[in-house]
Symmetry: none
Subunit: 204 residues, 4 copies
Amino acid sequence: MAPSTPQRRGRPRSAAADRAILDATRAALVEVGWSRLTMSHVAIRAGVAKTTLYRRWGAKSELVVDAVAVLFDELELPDRGSLRADIEGVVLSFAALLERPETKTALMAVIAESTSDEALRVRVREAIVDRQKRLVVEGRVRAQARGELPPDPADGDETRRVIDLIFDVIAGAVVHRALVSDGVVDSGWAARFTTLLLGGLGAA
Amino acid sequence: MAPSTPQRRGRPRSAAADRAILDATRAALVEVGWSRLTMSHVAIRAGVAKTTLYRRWGAKSELVVDAVAVLFDELELPDRGSLRADIEGVVLSFAALLERPETKTALMAVIAESTSDEALRVRVREAIVDRQKRLVVEGRVRAQARGELPPDPADGDETRRVIDLIFDVIAGAVVHRALVSDGVVDSGWAARFTTLLLGGLGAA
Amino acid sequence: MAPSTPQRRGRPRSAAADRAILDATRAALVEVGWSRLTMSHVAIRAGVAKTTLYRRWGAKSELVVDAVAVLFDELELPDRGSLRADIEGVVLSFAALLERPETKTALMAVIAESTSDEALRVRVREAIVDRQKRLVVEGRVRAQARGELPPDPADGDETRRVIDLIFDVIAGAVVHRALVSDGVVDSGWAARFTTLLLGGLGAA
Amino acid sequence: MAPSTPQRRGRPRSAAADRAILDATRAALVEVGWSRLTMSHVAIRAGVAKTTLYRRWGAKSELVVDAVAVLFDELELPDRGSLRADIEGVVLSFAALLERPETKTALMAVIAESTSDEALRVRVREAIVDRQKRLVVEGRVRAQARGELPPDPADGDETRRVIDLIFDVIAGAVVHRALVSDGVVDSGWAARFTTLLLGGLGAA
DNA sequence: TTTTAAACGAGACGGTACGTCCTGTCTTATT
DNA sequence: AATAAGACAGGACGTACCGTCTCGTTTAAAA
């Protein structure tokens, strides 16, 4: 039951350095954005040598994924009493997160990088994207309990496909509205979007 | 009737250079992707001096926007006989476009850049994003003619809001599925998505 | 009796342009010095197109030779009554010329260029250097008339060699003192130098 | 007692890089001369990054001064038995040095640059010019010991002025003859020059 | 305790691309 | 045919980061 390499010899890595680096990364993202963020800059700001930084993260994109991932885990889905209210709530929380300068500048950038970097793509999915599917699952279970949605189909694969689809539709719409179309995501937009999602095109 | 600046003084800019630069940009995007694309590389490949390149485009991102914008204009919406078929058709065409290496690597990157560059954001919207709303408008008119959708509301602003919403939902879902979730967009996914869009969550 | 090419076809070259270019060259030399002087800069300053400039002078160094040559022709050798006074006079005039920013920065530069450019070397000699030997000849004739120097030897080649030698010694010493050793050339230095030149090392 | 900065922090500068750069500079001067010598060229030839080069020398002229300075230190004044022979000897050695392509192309160029750059002027004087005054001092002492020249005056300043003057006359004449008048400095010229220097104008 | 070895800060290293500047040539319309 | 204007291909500039390396120093477990 011993953990792997329980005590390596030599000086152990500094946990404080990790924290300082991630904090410095977020702070630098806020100040200069993704494209002008440099590893040297982060190292200096964190009071750390570049070697220390590279020992832990091999590239800017990996560092940024880890630095912003924790922000996405703060998303929650409190029970607002109805499926409509839950959807509107999560849409607004997600939009608020995307408004933060750290995430706004970083999310699209790491996704762009990931289109030509398989390892990064996996890291983004595992650290950021897939973890948020829990919100869809949770809202769905709750709506089923309320009788607002039919129960899961017998086929588990089908259930997973439906959850993935709903996740892509909600997350995709909010991201596209906020970052691509450059429009506001306010309660009015959230309401119109939810109406469309609940009732389909005819209801819009 | 004379156009503005009918004959400027000095040697006129070479239209051939413009074409060569945009072609070279697309070719380089295919070969090396966004992040390893350099202005020098493009200039050499186009057989053009760097000054000529910078005289027209001030930054890599602006150049890439113009280079890929034309690809998005190739999207069309042939009448497939029903709203369902039209939606499935446009989803698959859009996904096919996003699978091309030029667009896959470039679209997210310029959107990421645009989060911290107002001028670029406008350029992206005008050259790429907003132009595709024509597809939504056209499909909607056709569906209304078929009686598949109710007529436009009296309020023109409301009509515009609905079109924007539908556009964000369709484009956002396809982009998220293809580039973020890293999933395939095949006829099965298109069918499930269209069912959800037409009938709402309950239908999914 | 027609001169060569009495009337060429087409628009004749503008003499005003020549003057403007040479004036602009001298002015620019004063302001930015040799190494930051550019052909474009001169053209703009002279209100002339670059083509006009290159049609007349093929390189910066040729242009500068012509621009400063005229300044050297202003050197004169008024009769000051004795060989000693004539030498001190020409030393001080030459030093004053070398103190002007146009000549100070330009003379060494074109000589440096000329070490690897035969045509330029000839141009510098003909336009600047050799023309000043007249001062040595004149002073020598005058001193011979006064009985301060022996008459010319029978061998004309020997005479030429002596003149060249004296010229190199005087011009070389002044240039070295002013531009290389970075020392002042005042009446004290001129007197000491003249004493050495007249009486040899023992007299110094 | 501690030497200045006994151990600076970080990786120390490579002494091998310094040597490689200076060697490459001299080699490049021989091949392409001053005006076509580029920092990039030197860096590549030395197998060194441009940053390494700029970390040590801020400009081409400073680099070239250091690269050729060592050549001037090779000048010597062996005792040839008489003042006349010593002068003829040093004139010929100095002329031979100026004939070398590294020095011919570089010396005038850095002097030209130095006319508009105080720091460079100091560097040239300290690294190249003033160091050669030792030759004058040495020859003078030797001639005084032989009784060919009177002893130093009581006034030390006066001695220094005389040495400076003799240095400017000898060095100036040789440089002017070799590089400006573009004439040969052979034993005949050296003899005529020495006669003039020893006996004054009447002797020439 | 003393030894050992990895992590640490600092900063130099070879390299690549940047965006600007200048060169000398060319292509316009105008004089 | 010369002109003003300015675009053109080419290439050097000096700077900024990259990711690696080489120093001397610090830290904590192993001997």
